[in-house]
C-alpha cells in the first residue's frame, strides 16, 4: 500500500480518481487515516482543551486572590458542588478545579499537543515517509484520546462533580468515597486516564515503528532532524511508562468501586504503592512533556540562526540519556512520603545526574545562536524564550533535588512555580513556536508576524509576572492546594503577591486572544505560503504547502544531515536534505 501512495502527486489527486476515489466527508475529516489530518484533528481538539484548562486555572487564581468572593458573572450559574449559593467557590470545589486543571493540562493539552499534533505531523514528513506505519491505529489513537477528554470533563456534570484528590490522586484519599466525597468523578478520572493511556500506547507503537522502518533512503539515524529524535525517545518512554499508570488507574478504580484494597492501609494494602506506581509513570512523563519541546526548539533555533545545530550528536546522546535516567529518578517526588530515608539519598543522586544532559542541551542551544545570523521571527522568539525559561525551571529544580531543602519547600508554591516554568515557559512556549513555524505547511497560509510578536510579548511578560513570584510564595511557606491562604498566620503577609499573581494570570489568559484571532483568521485569509517560507532544510519543506495525501511525489533520497545552513562555497545559505551538495560546497564531516 505504501508503494501506491508514494507515487501520488497532490496536483493529480483530483484527476486520478481511478486510483484514489474522492473520499467521503466522513473518511476525509472524521475517520481519516492520513497522519496530517489526524494531526490537525489533534490540534483543534487540544486547543479547545487548552481553553478549558486555562479557564479552570482562572477559577483557581480567582479563589486564591479573593477567597470567599463570588465568581463574577457566572458564579450563580455554577453547580452546587463547586460554589456556594452566593456563587463563591467552596473548598471542595476548589480542590476539583485544581485537580482538573492539572489533569487536563497534562493529559489533554501538553502531551497531545507535542506528541499527537507534532508527532503525527512531523515524523512521516521529516523522515520522508508517505504516512505512519499503522494509519488505522493512528486514527484509533486520536478517537480514543478524544473519548478520554470527554470522559474526564464529563465529571463536571456528575453528582459531587470533579475528582478532587489532585492530579496525583494519592491513595487512600482517592481510593475511598468516604474520604474524597467524589466517587463518580474519581471513577471517571480512572476510566478517562485508562482510555488516554490506550491512545498513548497506540500512538507510541506507531511512532517507534515508523521511525525505525519507514525512513527514506539515505535517512540514517544520525541524519534525523532533532524533533524526530526527541519524539522517537518520547515514544519509547510512553510505551514503557504509560502502561504502569493504566494499571494503577485500573487498580484504583477497583478500590473505589469493588472494595479491593490495593492502596488502603487496612486489609494489608499499601498507600505508598500508589505513589511508587504513579511516579514511576509520572517522572518519565515529565520528560515525555519536555523532550519533544526540546526537539522542536532545537529545530527552530537552527533554522532561524541559519546555523547547523551546535553538537548534533551531543544533543542526541543527551536525549537518550535523559530517556534512560528518567526511569530511575521517580523517588525524588517522595523524599518526605515516608519511604525509606536511605532511598532518598539514592534518588537525590540520580536526580542530580539527570540535570547534566539538560545542562548540555542548554549550552548547545547557546552554541547554536553563537555566530548565527539570527532572524527574529515569531517562532524564533518563542524558541529563544523557551531556552531561558527552561534554564529558570531547571535551576529551580536543583533546590528540590537537594533533600534537606526539599524538606522545606516540598508541596509549596515553589514547586508550582518550578513545574510551570518547565511546562508552560518550556513546553507550551515551544508549542506556540511550533504552531507559528509549521502553520504555513499545515494550512498553506502564513500567520501574521506583527500579531505573533504581540502575542509573544504579552505571553512572555505575563507568564513571568504570574509564575516568578510563586517562587517567593513558596519560600514564604505557602502550601499547594489550599483554597484560602490568609487562614494561616504565616501567609497573611504574602497575600498581596497572590493578588498580583492572579491579576497577571488573568492577563496571561487574555494574551491568548491575539493568538486565536491570528490563527483562525490566517487559516482563511492569511497570505499564501510558499513551499519553504523559512528557507529550511528538512524534508517537509520540499513538498507543497499543505502536502497532498501520501506526502511525497517520489520517495526522496537523503544526502546529508538535517542542519546544513550557511555551508561555505554555496550561494544560498541552506542545503535541503534531499539535494546533493554542489561540488564547490565544503560540507564538514562531523
Amino acid at each position: 500500500m505504501a508503494e501506491t501512495i508514494v507515487h501520488t502527486v497532490r496536483g493529480e489527486l483530483h484527476g486520478s480518481h481511478a486510483h484514489h476515489p474522492e473520499l467521503s466527508f466522513f473518511r476525509k475529516y472524521i475517520w481519516s487515516e492520513d497522519h496530517k489530518t489526524i494531526a490537525l484533528q489533534y490540534l483543534f481538539t487540544t486547543m479547545f482543551f487548552l481553553l478549558v484548562g486555562g479557564l479552570l486555572a482562572m477559577g483557581v487564581r480567582f479563589q486564591l486572590a479573593f477567597p470567599g468572593a463570588p465568581v463574577p458573572l457566572i458564579g450563580t450559574l455554577l453547580p452546587s458542588w463547586l460554589v456556594t449559593s452566593a456563587g463563591a467557590i467552596q473548598p471542595g470545589g476548589y480542590n476539583g478545579l485544581v485537580t482538573m486543571h492539572a489533569t487536563a493540562m497534562v493529559f489533554l493539552v501538553i502531551m497531545p499537543f507535542l506528541i499527537g499534533v507534532f508527532g503525527n505531523y512531523l515524523i512521516p514528513l521529516q523522515i520522508g515517509a508517505p504516512d505512519m506505519a499503522f494509519p488505522f491505529f493512528n486514527a484509533l489513537s486520536y478517537w480514543l484520546f478524544f473519548l478520554s477528554g470527554i470522559v474526564l470533563l464529563s465529571s463536571f456534570f456528575v453528582p459531587a462533580g470533579f475528582p478532587a484528590s489532585g492530579w496525583t490522586s494519592y491513595a487512600p484519599l482517592s481510593a475511598h468515597a468516604q474520604y474524597n466525597g467524589t466517587q463518580a468523578g474519581q471513577s471517571l478520572w480512572c476510566v478517562g486516564l485508562f482510555i488516554n493511556g490506550l491512545a498513548s500506547i497506540a500512538g507510541a507503537t506507531n511512532y517507534i515503528t515508523t521511525v525505525i522502518n519507514m525512513r527514506a533512503p539515505g535517512m540514517k539515524m544520525f541524519r534525523l532532524p532533532l524533533p524526530v529524535w526527541a519524539l522517537f525517545i518520547t515514544a519509547i518512554l510512553l510505551l514503557l511508562a504509560v502502561p504502569v499508570l493504566s494499571a494503577a488507574a485500573a487498580m484504583l478504580f477497583c478500590d473505589l468501586n469493588f472494595g479491593t484494597s490495593f492502596f488502603s492501609a487496612s486489609n494489608y494494602g499499601q498507600p505508598l504503592l500508589w505513589q511508587h506506581l504513579f511516579w514511576f509513570f509520572g517522572h518519565p512523563e515529565v520528560y515525555i512533556m519536555i523532550l519533544p519541546a526540546m526537539g522542536i526548539a532545537s529545530e527552530i533555533l537552527a533554522v532561524n540562526s541559519r546555523k547547523p545545530i551546535f553538537g548534533y550528536k551531543a544533543m542526541v546522546y543527551a536525549l537518550v540519556s535523559i530517556g534512560v535516567l528518567g526511569f530511575i529518578v521517580w523517588g525524588h517526588h517522595m523524599f518526605v512520603s515516608g519511604m525509606n530515608i536511605l532511598l532518598s539519598a539514592t534518588f537525590s543522586f540520580s536526580t542530580m545526574v539527570i540535570a547534566v544532559p539538560s545542562a548540555i542541551k542548554t549550552f548547545n542551544w547557546m552554541g547554536t545562536v553563537w555566530g548565527g545570523s539570527i532572524r527574529y521571527t515569531t517562532p524564533m522568539c518563542f524558541a529563544l524564550a523557551f531556552v531561558s525559561m527552561f534554564v529558570i525551571g531547571g535551576l529551580s529544580g536543583i533546590f528540590m533535588a537537594a533533600t534537606p531543602v526539599d524538606l522545606f519547600i516540598h508541596h509549596t508554591y515553589f514547586i508550582v512555580a518550578h513545574i510551570h516554568y518547565v511546562l508552560f515557559g518550556g513546553s507550551l512556549f515551544a508549542v506556540f513556536g511550533a504552531i507559528y513555524f509549521w502553520f504555513p505547511k499545515m494550512f498553506g497560509r502564513m500567520m501574521n508576524e506583527t500579531w505573533g510578536k504581540i502575542h509573544f510579548a504579552l505571553a512572555f511578560i505575563f507568564f513571568n509576572c504570574t509564575f516568578f513570584p510563586m517562587h517567593n510564595l513558596g519560600l514564604n511557606g505557602m502550601m499547594r492546594r489550599i483554597a484560602d491562604p490568609p487562614l494561616y498566620d504565616h501567609l497573611r503577609s504574602s497575600q498581596p503577591i497572590n493578588i498580583f499573581v492572579s491579576v497577571s494570570a488573568f492577563c496571561l489568559g487574555l494574551s491568548t486572544i491575539p493568538f486565536l484571532i491570528n490563527f483562525f483568521y490566517s487559516i482563511f485569509k492569511g497570505p499564501k505560503a510558499p513551499k519553504n517560507p523559512w528557507e529550511s532544510t528538512t524534508l517537509e519543506w520540499t513538498v507543497p504547502s499543505p502536502p497532498g495525501h501520501g506526502n511525497f511525489e517520489t520517495t526522496p533520497t537523503v544526502y546529508h544531515g538535517p542542519y546544513e545552513y550557511s555551508v561555505p562555497g554555496m550561494d544560498k545559505d541552506y542545503l535541503p536534505q534531499n539535494e546533493p551538495a554542489p561540488e564547490k560546497a565544503r560540507i564538514a564531516v562531523h
Binding site: 473548598p91 480542590n95 489532585g166 494519592y170 487512600p172 474520604y179 466525597g181 488502603s264 492501609a265 498507600p271 541559519r306 546555523k307 545545530i309 551546535f310 553538537g311 551531543a314 515516608g338 539519598a345 537525590s348 542530580m352 548540555i360 548547545n364 552554541g367 545562536v369 553563537w370 555566530g371 545570523s373 539570527i374 527574529y376 529563544l384 531561558s388 536543583i398 533546590f399 533533600t403 534537606p404 531543602v405 524538606l407 516540598h410 508541596h411 509549596t412 510579548a457 512572555f460 511578560i461 517562587h471 517567593n472 519560600l475 514564604n476 511557606g477 502550601m479 492546594r481 489550599i482 483554597a483 487562614l487 494561616y488 498566620d489 504565616h490 542542519y563 545552513y565 550557511s566 545559505d573
Partner: protein
C-alpha cells in the same frame, strides 16, 4: 532573505524590553522582607537547611545571570545583518567535554553537600533529653499524645488504631495509662522533640515552615525518624500540606514553643488533670 531583515530593529527592541521585563520579578525576589522571603527560622535543623538553601540560591543565581548575559549578548551581536553570513560550525567536542564535566562535578559535589546535611538533620540520633510526642493526623486536624511522668510513651501499634483508640495505644502496657493527650503542640524551647507520626484515614502532611520541616503521615505506618529542636519562643501553625479532602484548606494545629519553666508548669497541670481523670475512671471500671 530580505523579508527577515525589514523590521529587525523593532524586533530586537521588543526582545530587549521583554527580557528587561523578565528582570523585574527577578529583582523583586532579591528583596528580603517578610513579604518576599522565608519566614524567620526557628529550629536548629532549619538553620542548617537555610545555609544550604542560600548556597544553592547564590550558585543558581550566578549560573542564571552568567548564562543569560552571554545569551543576550549573542542574541544582540549575532542578529541578521545584510551581507553577513552565519558561521558554519557543527560544534566543538572539547567544549562539549568541558560543559559536560563541569556541571557533572558541580552536581555531584552538591549532592555530597546536601546528602551530608540530610544525614545530619534527619539520620543523626537526636540530642540527649529529647522528648517523644505522638502526633496523629485525621480529616481534618491533629491530636497529640505526651508521655506520662516516666517520660516514655507507652507502647503503641498502628494495627491497634481505631476510632476509640486513635493513637493505637497498647492498653496492656502500664506506661500507656500515664500518657495524656492535647490539642495543642506545646514544646519547650531548645529541647529536642521526636515525633511519632501516624494517620487515622488518609495521607496528611506535617509541615512547619518556620522549622523547615515536612513529613507525610501515612496510614498504616508510624514514622518515627523526624526530630527537631525549636530555638525560638512563639506561636506557630502546624499545617497539613498534603491534599487530604474538602477540609484540607483549614487543617492546622497550634504549636506553642515556651520556656522550659512554662512548659514544666503546663506539663504538670496536664499530667495532674490526666491523673485525676484516670483515678476517677478507675473505680468505675472496677465495678
Amino acid at each position: 532573505m530580505t523579508q527577515f531583515l525589514s523590521r529587525k530593529s523593532g524586533s530586537i527592541a521588543l526582545l530587549v524590553i521583554v527580557f528587561v521585563a523578565c528582570g523585574v520579578p527577578a529583582y523583586a525576589a532579591q528583596r528580603t522582607s517578610g513579604l518576599w522571603w522565608m519566614p524567620d527560622v526557628a529550629s536548629k535543623g532549619g538553620e542548617q537547611i537555610d545555609q544550604l538553601t542560600y548556597f544553592i540560591y547564590y550558585l543558581t543565581g550566578a549560573v542564571f545571570v552568567l548564562t543569560q548575559v552571554v545569551y543576550i549578548y549573542f542574541l544582540i551581536k549575532y542578529r541578521a545583518k545584510r551581507g553577513v553570513r552565519a558561521t558554519y560550525s557543527h560544534g566543538d567536542n572539547r567544549l562539549e567535554l568541558v560543559w559536560t564535566a563541569i556541571p557533572t562535578a558541580i552536581f555531584i559535589g552538591l549532592w555530597g553537600y546536601s546528602n551530608h546535611m540530610w544525614w545530619d538533620v534527619i539520620h543523626k540520633e537526636p540530642p540527649p533529653g529529647t522528648m517523644e510526642v505522638a502526633v496523629n493526623a485525621y480529616q481534618f486536624g491533629f491530636s497529640f499524645q505526651y508521655p506520662g511522668a516516666s517520660g516514655k510513651l507507652g507502647r503503641s501499634d498502628v494495627k491497634l488504631l481505631s476510632p476509640e483508640n486513635v493513637f493505637g495505644n497498647d492498653r496492656t502496657d502500664p506506661l500507656t495509662k500515664e500518657d495524656f493527650q492535647s490539642g495543642v503542640l506545646e514544646l519547650p524551647v531548645n529541647r529536642g522533640v521526636r515525633i511519632l507520626l501516624t494517620s487515622r484515614d488518609v495521607i496528611h502532611g506535617f509541615y512547619i515552615p518556620q522549622f523547615r520541616i515536612y513529613q507525610d503521615a501515612v496510614p498504616g505506618r508510624t514514622i518515627d525518624w523526624v526530630w527537631f529542636v525549636p530555638t525560638k519562643v512563639g506561636s506557630y501553625d502546624l499545617a497539613c500540606s498534603q491534599l487530604c479532602g474538602s477540609g484540607h484548606y483549614n487543617m492546622k494545629a497550634q504549636i506553642q514553643v515556651v520556656s522550659e519553666e512554662e512548659f514544666d508548669n503546663w506539663y504538670k497541670q496536664k499530667l495532674a488533670a490526666a491523673g485525676n481523670a484516670s483515678a476517677a475512671n478507675a473505680p468505675a471500671q472496677s465495678k
